[in-house]
Point group: C3
Chain length 431, copies 3
């Protein structure tokens, strides 16, 4: 399996993001449905609808929210805030409103970012019925006294929570979970980049022979993960490794947040790939805050799921503002993120354990043509060293990754050499 | 429970030390008895008397020593060394002597500190019958030739070894042991500061509702601890945590010497309090030398008992000299030591384990009013983070202290938030 | 047991190396036999002969190689390469050749070191039938066009593989293995220094009372270790500790390569000796490459065998060249290496576990004359501290080395004090 790292793929991911960008998504509703439907054009996707009111652990699936228009008009009938210019202008999940009010009353429903006067903030009010508008601080300063007409043409009714699931069957029932949230409106790095990565990773894996089965989730944050876990509680034990993908399009270095376990195979696998990337990177310990790893790593599940990002949430100023737009993300960064995801998957796919079939002393490699014939020289070749490490540590307790780490060699080199040794009958895969 | 840290308490401890300072204590005798009787005026104290000759493990309770007067007179009949000026002048446990001798013979029984010519050293000879005087090197240099009259009006007879025990009953039979030696004559930091701390900590705990039972020991060093352990051998398994207190009145930084186990809860508790104190401090590994932790941590007992000091024994020049007097110790240092002891006790009292009652995914905190309603902002509050950590790690294996350490938060914050979660039925204390 | 470190011993080892230096050794043949016979004059040695064709695990004992003469003559009949000047001139295990050829054809069989133009390289071709000559690059440059007469008067026939074994019986069946290879021709640091060390360590141990039994192996590298392991497969479990000795005569610092286990007693013992040597040293982790520890530490055996060197193989430029001669090694370095080996053996011999016979509190050392009578002073003596550590940690789980490491004291000090405590009935050796 070769990692797809070409800039063409980065460009294609970028174009998918551009297509999804204008849609007003939320944790329920038609924007989310439309998003899933575009994803479905790219990969096989089952779309699930879960009715409002369904109990999911300590939570309940909320009412479905849809919005058609929203604005604030001044006394001249001019739209001073217009949902059609940016869907961030409306506080996500705002209840319907039609009213007239003075500037003072209006301002109690307005949100701005004084530190970034040109940017519109992104705000939500999912679980408390409320309404509001977001706007740039510059626009806010220009609001004059007088009466304003306020309209939010939204609905908040019984309906469904939608999510998408792409399942790729491998030789094993054991699963790798790839999860991304799909509930943010016009925001790019968080979260369209995660969606684009997951789609293209699934596209790539759909075309190759797989050891593990792969499950890709495109879900609304928090409530979506909780809903999926509630509906699949009995089968989550199949998940052997998992990654939450988010913020993967900015030009910053890669950041891996470990699973709650901290020493799961996914943790070692990601860290190995990052360490051997010859690029700067950061690894952070698990914290019970962030994206949906919070739910996957809740103590009742404690799944081996980490989170891969470039610059993590909250650490770039554009986060949750209108400046997290198509200018913030780069095809090259997307391509690099995808290459790393592919390497991680490749490592998981091939990280077997083997048994040395000649555990007493070294086997004679020379008679098999595996070792140079002339003795006395000082240098040892990488590949020969990999052979010796594989033979020495393949006692059924060390995976190829364990051996690569112990030997200080790249997994790919060790894996390649392991196949040579298997072909010569010197190693045998553990059952 | 609020830590009592006021300077008033520091002053009160200082005054108790000033009251105890003039008494000539030893490992047995009336000075020790008089000391216990003053302690008894402050806290409920059972005073035990153990007869000379009682076997205690490998040791035997020694004869009781008492002293009324001691001096060396020169040929003019002037007292050149006078016990009534300082009880350090007599080697502690000196046998009775009445003799006349020349300066040369006399000097074989004299001890001085040439490096500190104004200070009188403190010397003992508990287990070998002997006699001697200690004096400043300056006085020693002035001793002229001629005959001297030597008198030590002491008794060394069958009697008793005395010690005091203050037991405060809590809800549990499990005990916290607080031990200090009470056998040094006019020396302040070592050991009157430890006595003062123990007395005021007991006073404080006597007034509050307690989870653990507390046992305070005021005992002669080594032989007292051995005697107490020999008489209580069957019940020491009740001791779950313990501290030896000594040298707690000087202005140096706090020093904690770990228990033999090195990873006992008392070790973590003290280190957490010191780490969050925003003061300089030191932690040292267990060494089988020092104070009575030597006995509590002997391999047959291996109790989880550490030792808390400010500047440890032997590391300040005044140690075991007449300069370890009321000028060396400070009310503010005593108050700070007491505050830390109270925090340690508070931590032990509240360091429970809890079970998350909604272990599958996060519970919905918002509907309980425990979480902000508006989403999208970047900052997370300390208290919200504490909630998430508590919910994530309360799987019955992590104590509140474990969670506080893992989260990098102060124990008090985590403990406070745990109570909120208990009130909302989200956490339940482990049985 | 006192470590023999005198320079006289260094000189004697050097002289043994000088006696062995001219012999043309290989992995089989008369040079090896002659070497074993010289060793036999120094220590009791059983010499074993294993016939060609004997299967040994994945290998087969090869044909026996012997050589009488070899040369290359120019058209004037002058020997431009002459085996009698240096046995390195012939590629070890070269098949017999008698031929005439031009310079171009000849050069395909010549090996030089362009970076070190005055040195002859050492090359072998044990397992592939081939022939060749090694010479200095300077000589190679002087080879003129014209016809050359090539002669290698060697035999490669059925015969035997020889090795020597010196067994010193101790009180226990448990064994310490000391192994060195004995197959290199005129090379000093690698490997005559290892032979000299093993011979003199055996000589020393033959004269003292031993706890362990000691087995010294003088074997051809790789095939010798494999042959010995194949013939002794059932009894290797007796080996409790082992060292491979090589490169011990150069003036560099000592280097210890750990066993595959990494935390075996031999690892701790060697590291303790090196740490307390007040000399620079290096410890490296196990790597499945190097000397015969590769075979002893193969996963089927996983014996606790490390490798002791001064400058390790491949890290000095003279390695495997004619410059690894009698000038490279020093009597003082050999003496120091032997002293360290003796200290390591001494530590293993005495590294018992003891049980404190008074585990409840400290025993009263003073009444046994083991402790100073006068109290109050600050300093503690090393020996007294060693007593307290021994009493505190002798609970049957800590060896003397564990205690020495924990106490930061030299093993010899702790061991000496342990004997005093045994004599006083305070410690008892574990069965």
């Amino acid at each position: 399996m070769i990692a797809p790292a070409s800039l063409d793929l980065g460009q294609a991911m970028y174009e998918l993001m551009a297509e999804l960008y204008p849609i007003c998504r939320s944790i329920t509703g038609d924007g989310l449905r439309q998003t899933l439907s575009i994803i479905q054009k790219n990969i096989p996707l089952a779309i699930h609808e879960v009715p409002t009111g369904t109990p999911v652990f300590d939570w309940t699936v909320p009412k479905e929210w849809n919005i058609h228009d929203a604005y604030v008009k001044n006394s001249h009938g001019e739209r001073v805030i217009d949902f059609h210019k940016s869907n961030l202008h409306v506080v996500n999940y705002s209840v319907p409103v039609r009213a007239r009010m003075g500037v003072k009353a209006l301002k109690e429903h307005l949100h701005t970012l004084p530190d970034y006067p040109d940017w519109i903030p992104y705000r939500t009010s999912y679980y408390k019925e409320s309404w509001g508008f977001c706007l740039s601080h510059r626009e806010w300063l220009e609001l004059k006294d007088g009466e304003y007409e306020v309209c939010i043409d939204s609905t908040l009714d019984d309906g469904n929570l939608s999510y998408g699931e792409c399942y790729l069957k491998g030789r094993r029932e054991d699963e790798v979970l790839i999860s991304c949230h799909a509930c943010h409106p016009s925001l790019c790095n968080d979260n369209l980049s995660g969606i684009a990565l997951a789609v293209f990773l699934a596209k790539h894996l759909a075309g190759v022979s797989l050891e593990y089965s792969y499950r890709f989730l495109f879900i609304p944050g928090t409530i979506g993960a909780i809903t999926w876990l509630a509906r699949n509680r009995e089968s989550v034990s199949k998940i052997k490794h998992g990654l939450v993908l988010a913020n993967l399009g900015d030009p910053g270095r890669l950041t891996y947040k470990k699973s709650r376990r901290g020493n799961a195979e996914i943790d070692s696998a990601v860290m190995h790939v990052l360490k051997h990337s010859e690029q700067d990177y950061e690894v952070i310990d698990f914290v019970p805050y962030g994206y949906d790893e919070r739910q996957y790593c809740s103590p009742g599940f404690n799944l081996p799921v980490g989170c891969l990002s470039r610059t993590p949430w909250g650490r770039f100023p554009e986060y949750h503002t209108s400046a997290d737009n198509l200018d913030l993300v780069r095809p090259a960064a997307l391509a690099d993120s995808l290459a790393k995801c592919s390497m991680i998957v490749n490592l998981l796919e091939n990280n077997g354990k083997y048994i040395n079939q000649n555990p007493y002393c070294e086997p004679q490699l020379g008679k098999r043509g595996l070792y140079h014939a002339q003795g006395g020289k000082t240098e040892v070749k990488d590949g020969e060293l990999a052979m010796f490490w594989l033979l020495n540590l393949s006692d059924g307790t060390h995976s190829l990754l364990d051996i690569a780490e112990r030997a200080g060699l790249h997994f790919d080199r060790v894996e390649e050499v392991s196949q040579t040794l298997v072909e010569h009958g010197l190693l045998k895969a553990c059952a």
